[in-house]
């Protein structure tokens, strides 16, 4: 479980494919630059700036889950650039709070459930020794639920694989299941077509990196 903090670094090697979809409506146009920022910014101020803008969109568009989703994601990124453990937890609290709005709107959305699992993984990473027991099981269960909701969601599968890999390494047990999931996630990423320009697109490099580790 101690490896968890390394996952984020793997995650951050983004390779976002810019979809060739024309910027259609005003909502999509307003969202896109901020989504790009939460994927690419590596300090707190631009991330907070983007999250603030996303929050403004959220208050105007009361039925859209994406602004909350990326707000939550933005806070997870801020957590990653923070060293103080207490402050890290605060960012994760904000991430959970924002994501709760998204899950209220689309409770069965695999992407939202996958991010929820990711937040739990990050909770473990802050203090693996004392939180592993409490959150590791919860994180695995949540990610498994995200996969069940949409078996074609490569992110849910990649995160689950990452979690399983970490647990297997910690206990020195077989990584076969984790690696099979990593391979499957990589394959799904290769053919994955985002449903719309606002659909989540992160996690591919994490899956590929994990698969690479599996092969060694």
């Amino acid at each position: 479980m101690k490896h968890l903090h390394l996952y984020l670094i793997a995650l951050l090697a983004w390779n976002i494919t810019q979809p060739a979809v024309a910027q259609g409506d005003r909502y999509t146009a307003a969202m896109q630059p901020h989504i790009r920022t939460v994927y690419t910014a590596d300090t707190v101020p631009p991330l907070q700036n983007a999250v603030n803008a996303l929050e403004r969109i959220a208050t105007a568009e009361k039925t859209r889950w994406e602004p909350y989703y990326y707000t939550s994601f933005g806070y997870v990124m801020m957590m990653n650039y923070e060293n103080d453990k207490l402050q890290k937890d605060r960012y994760l609290d904000l991430a959970s709070k924002a994501l709760a709005h998204a899950s209220a709107l689309v409770p069965q959305e695999s992407e939202v459930v996958a991010l929820e699992g990711f937040i739990l993984m990050m909770r473990v990473s802050i203090d693996p020794a004392s939180r592993g027991q409490q959150y590791a099981g919860q994180a695995t269960q949540t990610l498994a639920r995200a996969v069940a909701l949409n078996p074609e969601n490569p992110r849910a599968l990649a995160l689950l694989a990452q979690m399983q890999y970490g647990m297997a390494q910690f206990f020195g047990s077989s990584t076969a299941e984790a690696c099979a999931n990593a391979r499957s996630a990589t394959e799904k990423f290769a053919t994955f077509q985002p449903a719309n320009p606002l659909a989540p697109q992160w996690g591919r490099s994490m899956a590929e990196k994990l698969q690479g580790t599996c092969k060694e």
């Binding site: 307003a30 803008a53 937890d89 004392s130 027991q133 647990m167 047990s173």
Partner: protein, 720 residues
Amino acid sequence: MTMRLLFTPLLFIIMLPALAQTKLAGRVTDRQGQGIPLANVILAGTYDGATTDNEGAFSFETFETGTHKLVVKYVGYKDFEQEVVLAGRPVVLHAALEETINELDAVEITAGSFMASDESRRTVLKAIDIATTAGATADIAGALNTLPGTQKVGESGRLFVRGGDGNETKTFIDGMLVLDAYGPAAPNTPSRGRFLPFMFKGTSFSTGGYSAEYGQALSSALVLDSRDKAEMTRTDIGLLSVGGDVTHTQAWERGSVAGKLQYTNIRPYFGLINQEIDWRTPPASWEGVGAFRHEVGKTGMVKVYGNMSRTDFSLYEHDIDNPASRVAYALQNDYRYINAFYKDVLSERWTVRGGAAYTYQQNDSHAGTTATLETEKGVHAKTVFEGSLTDKVELKTGAEVLQRRYSQDIHTEGMPTAIRAFDETCIAVFTEADVYASNRFVTRAGARGEYNTLTGKTSVDPRLSMAYKTGNVGQVSLAYGIFRQTANNTWVRLNANLEAEKAEHYILNYQHVTGGRTFRVETYYKRYRDLVKYTGTTEPTQLNNTGRGSAQGVELFWRDNETVRGVDYWVSYSFLDTRRNYLNYPESAMPAFASRHNASLVVKYFIEPLKSQVGTTYSYTSGRPYNNPNKTSFNSERTPYYSDLSLNWSYLPKPYLIVYFSCTNVLGRDNIFGYTYSDTPTGDGFYNSRPVRQAAPRFLFVGIFLTLSKDKSVNQLPTL
């Protein structure tokens, strides 16, 4: 050219809406005028707005017109709202945000208090820390004994806090009193707590100045919060060098039930390792534990916990003057404890919790030709309401009843049975308010009123504490309170009219926390009044409440789990200066359970390639007083210092399997806790003595813990 001329008016028309843009600018600050960066300025219902810069300034333009609401949001502050009219004229405004009192930023009263919790993030210890402290052998009191404020009393195993004896610390489970939280032990051998550390999600150990909610404790309150519902169905099996246990947990969506059966038998172990005690039959015990949890409604939770056990042992006590002459002593202890707890949320601002606990304990002992049957039954019922009066005032108020029935029947062959018994009912009400001036400063004021049928008296005891944040990482807190406790059963059974004993605490604390490092220093003064005093040595007579005493000291604590990767350690040191004139002391003296210097070093190291956690604990206690009747001055002699180096090792070869090994006093030091003297002098007027030693130089423990569940990644780490 023509085209251009033609287009200009057209362009002008197209540009027109741009002229209706309104510029909004201003500054966001806190109430002290300090700019707040990164605050979100939102024109409600639109995409428009801005994020404040480093000085808290913002500026944006909008095409919206008419009356709108402008909202400013920033974490830790209340939302600021203001109507703005957008009509092309620039709008300038200043938003002074009011901070909210919130758990993460608010100052915390830490005077006299050590918290171990997995839920709260600012605690000094986690539940797992208690379980994995070497030398503590997974005993709560054993682990807390490595914290400042405690004095190690090796032959007792109980918590002795700041010059108080072991009875002055009371244990509460989910707020409900436990009458005897320790298992029975042979004379001069340490007893273990009856409750395992991982039953609890939070442990609050107070070494003084605690909440008005807790009474009938002179020195310390150990408050344990039990875990909520279990998450999954599982079976745990433990094979120990001294017995075994099996636990089954059945979980469903809204609740769980767990049952545990444990058998402990030290007999085979004692056969292997030389013992200081002349056992006839070493201790063996059966214990059954049941826990039921159920969620009620949307927010309610019912918890029922029950524990019953039977322990017996017998040994020979040898005469000091003539070691060949021995008397058999046998004890059978029966214990039952049941605790039912309920909590629910009444409204957005108020919660209620309450419960009832019943303790039954019987000691059936035989010494020579005398049989003693000691029985104590107690019922405790309590209800507490907690809520917020305003954003800055939190109130806790409640009532409780404690009823006890104690009896001791002594039967000696050829003599009439002597019965000593008493009943006590104690009714208490308490109320306490936390008043926050800001996130930096809090005052907690409260009082506890008690009526006790033994004395027929009503009392009101004040409690007061304050905390002030001196910066981002440091805070100062102080606490004051008056505490009372009915005198020990040993004395009340002889004289039921004894007054309650009283203690007054004054505590000053400074705490500094940065990341994984914690530094604490605390100083205190404690005054005892109305302690029991009597005359006589074997048969106490003239019992009264004229005893007095005091304790003062300084304590240090340092914990660091950041500097060296994988290493977590803490150091604690306590200095204690205490004197009492109580019981049959001829003069004011340092009591035999007290020690001037106590120090502990606890180190835990996680070795990932070995899938192991190893830990070591070193404890030092300076010499304790004992009374040598051959000397004229009372309690003037000192034992040698006490020291112990313990090791433990947990190995996780498989996710569902743990192998655990621990050894106390690795160096095998012959610790002496005191001396017992013969009641009568020899012919030349000299009293013979015998040292009180450890039962065995080392205690070795090996355990294998196996968990069977659907999810094979679960293990018993939490229960170790």
